[in-house]
């Protein structure tokens, strides 16, 4: 019986899960770097005020922050996301050449109700571009995230795009942010519930109907045509131009089937100022797997700068992504590719030297480190589903030719250490 458990809402990952997570992170990192995003790392702990100030994550999210006083009475917080620490980092480092393109893949903590698929410690994969207002940056962020998802094996995905400036134009009420948060729930709670909630916010029925007349239009060309005719403020016109530009540039990266303008997309966070986007799976039950947008005002507040420090970013919802990958991939219990087994105690040292050679060739190799007999060694290799065993007895050592056993198929072939590279190259690498 274990004396202690994991903290509620937090998880251990045994190798079978950790290997899969690691594989996903490696693919994502590789795509981020091919798009010229470099790693940056921020601490897990920030001063509480970094999150609690009015330009940050918003009052309603503060209840979900893990915060505490350290032994010197400093109020600290485990980070809620990676975007706010990035804003703090940029403010602390005004010398960085712009545009500054960074990724961060790490843990965040939220004290939330525990539901299926919700955890109190989870990982985020973020890319952000700081220091340019150009829509080329927004398009690049979207394209990079889409490419990562495609390389992770998702094909049936779509990017929904909208622009906050357009929403501000369409929604002619005082409490715009409250309205946006309600509209953002459209996919989850449906049209009639959204309408009810909007009424509760004292939005009159005519205005609600007007909003729905616009946000329910589908088809990129139709939406743009409609917007041309109804957008009236300078802000709205500016937003419409931005939207058209993002779409235009995105076409250089991807086929148009991948993206659609969705005026009902609102995104919950207050800090977005322009382009907003979400990547969703074609399978509607799965919902959003990435989301982000442009936030041109936040960083300047952190930097106490009078001028905007524009920024745009996206976060991949990696926990959901990994759940989906799990459905498609066989779990591996170990990274080990070859178990080098010793026929008798006399061969224990030979085995270490052979393992050394194979490791130098790049293979992931285990040997017996428990003083077990051959049959028990093979049992162990089987229990971890190690794909190949190399059997080493004195006779084999003398010849320099060993039995390589394919543990899945049960077949054996004789080969030298140099031949193994060729024999296994299509099977393992």
């Amino acid at each position: 019986m274990a004396k202690f458990q994991t903290v509620k809402g937090m998880r251990d990952f045994l190798p079978e899960d950790a290997i899969l997570r690691d594989k996903a992170f490696t693919i994502i990192k590789n795509v981020f770097e091919r798009f010229g995003f470099s790693p940056a790392i921020t601490p897990s702990l920030e001063y509480y005020e970094v999150f609690a100030n009015k330009f940050s994550i918003g009052q309603e999210n503060l209840k979900n922050i893990y915060s505490f006083d350290d032994k010197s009475g400093r109020k600290l917080a485990l980070r809620f996301d990676q975007t706010v620490p990035l804003a703090r980092l940029i403010a602390c480092n005004p010398q960085l050449p712009k545009p500054f393109k960074r990724y961060e893949i790490s843990r965040v903590w939220r004290y939330e109700e525990i539901k299926r698929g919700r955890y109190r410690e989870f990982w985020q994969c973020d890319i952000d571009t700081i220091g340019t207002k150009s829509m080329a940056a927004d398009a690049e962020i979207i394209a990079c995230a889409l490419q990562a998802l495609i390389e992770l094996g998702f094909n049936d995905i779509k990017i929904k795009i909208n622009n906050r400036k357009i929403l501000n134009d369409i929604i002619e009420v005082e409490n715009k942010n409250d309205v946006l948060r309600v509209i953002d729930k459209l996919d989850k709670i449906g049209e009639s519930n959204v309408k009810k909630e909007l009424q509760k916010l004292n939005i009159d029925k005519k205005q609600i109907q007007k909003i729905f007349d616009v946000i329910s239009i589908k088809g990129n060309e139709k939406v743009l045509a409609k917007l041309e005719s109804i957008v009236k403020t300078d802000e709205g016109k500016n937003g419409l131009n931005e939207l058209k530009e993002v779409i235009e540039i995105l076409k250089c990266y991807f086929d148009e089937k991948y993206f659609e303008i969705d005026l009902s997309l609102a995104r919950g966070l207050d800090y977005y100022t322009s382009t907003i986007f979400e990547i969703v799976s074609g399978d509607k039950s799965i919902g959003s797997i990435a989301g982000g947008g442009r936030y041109d005002k936040m960083i300047s507040k952190f930097a106490e700068s009078k001028e905007d420090i524009p920024a745009v970013g996206i976060a991949l919802g990696i926990e959901r992504i990994i759940e989906l990958i799990k459905l498609k991939n066989d779990k591996k219990k170990t990274v080990t590719q070859i178990f080098v087994a010793s026929v008798s105690d006399e061969n224990k040292k030979d085995v270490i030297k052979i393992a050394k050679d194979l490791r130098q060739k790049g293979f992931k190799v285990e040997t017996d480190i428990s003083g077990r007999k051959l049959s028990k060694q093979l049992e162990y290799a089987n229990s971890l589903s190690i794909p190949f065993c190399l059997i080493v007895g004195s006779e084999e050592v003398k010849k320099g030719v060993y039995k390589l056993k394919d543990m899945g198929k049960g077949k054996e072939i004789d080969c030298s250490l140099d031949e193994i590279v060729n024999v296994l190259k299509d099977r393992i690498f």
Copy 2:
């Protein structure tokens, strides 16, 4: 002016540092996996009792733990190390096949006084093997850590090895653990200070002299010969056999010049039961860069098991390692290898398509996303020391041949996209 700073003792890593850390972690991970260690991941937060119970890190370390009550009144702690969470994980998962070999590379937190090279958030790289008492596991752990350090570029290193059972035999006093903690400081504070501190622990001078007569012997053969003659308890004899066995097996992995028995090596933590080791640089000012040992009793306490669950592990002192790597490596400000520059606005879309092609070939590529003129684009590429620029104008697009500029040498050559792979393969990959 930045409104907020990083929390005291914690650090941001800008790309120039994050790239180097990432490179070091990748090398280490690769070696760990080639030795058949698989990743496992434990949470950052544990229940406070996991660290505070008497089989854990020890009373004197508790003051350095970041602990707090969560909103439901659970007392939580940010993890102090990765070993204790591993013990908890093993206790929670008795089904795991043994030996269980895992690595974890992640953050730990200690509320310590801030000195040069000491931080309150830092990274540990751990490998541990659970479930075998065989010295083959100890030797493998040492060999794997040594191999990682060699691949990181350290050649002038040595492993110091000792065995707690031998120390227990030699040190004939009640308060053995207190004495061990003092002896462990020998390298730092010198012989005379250690002797003074031992006197403060009421160890009589004769006993102190006897201890020093043994622990100051150098040379593996001499030490072993001396031990043969003085070790008298069963425990001591057992420890001596274990020590000889580890040395014997280690010789299969590495030349003997890499390891020496050092009876003055004690290691601070109470939980070690047998083999202990430390890897030090030949440059004495640098000190220990990795350390660990066998701890056969801890996990069984966590599992409430009557039988021992033996374990052996090592942690690489990655912060110190990275400081040393920094001295030898040029810092890179970005991962980007090629900046694809557009001669005029007309080429912005061509540039995106060319970047797409180069990314598919595996290159890390940036394009202009700020609407800048060519000269400003090249300035930006220079400010990040991006090694190559590809200049794209309408004429070049028509021909399919572009100017590839080596930004370091200032030289240009003409080449097609397919030729770039060959031109750069020795320069970048």
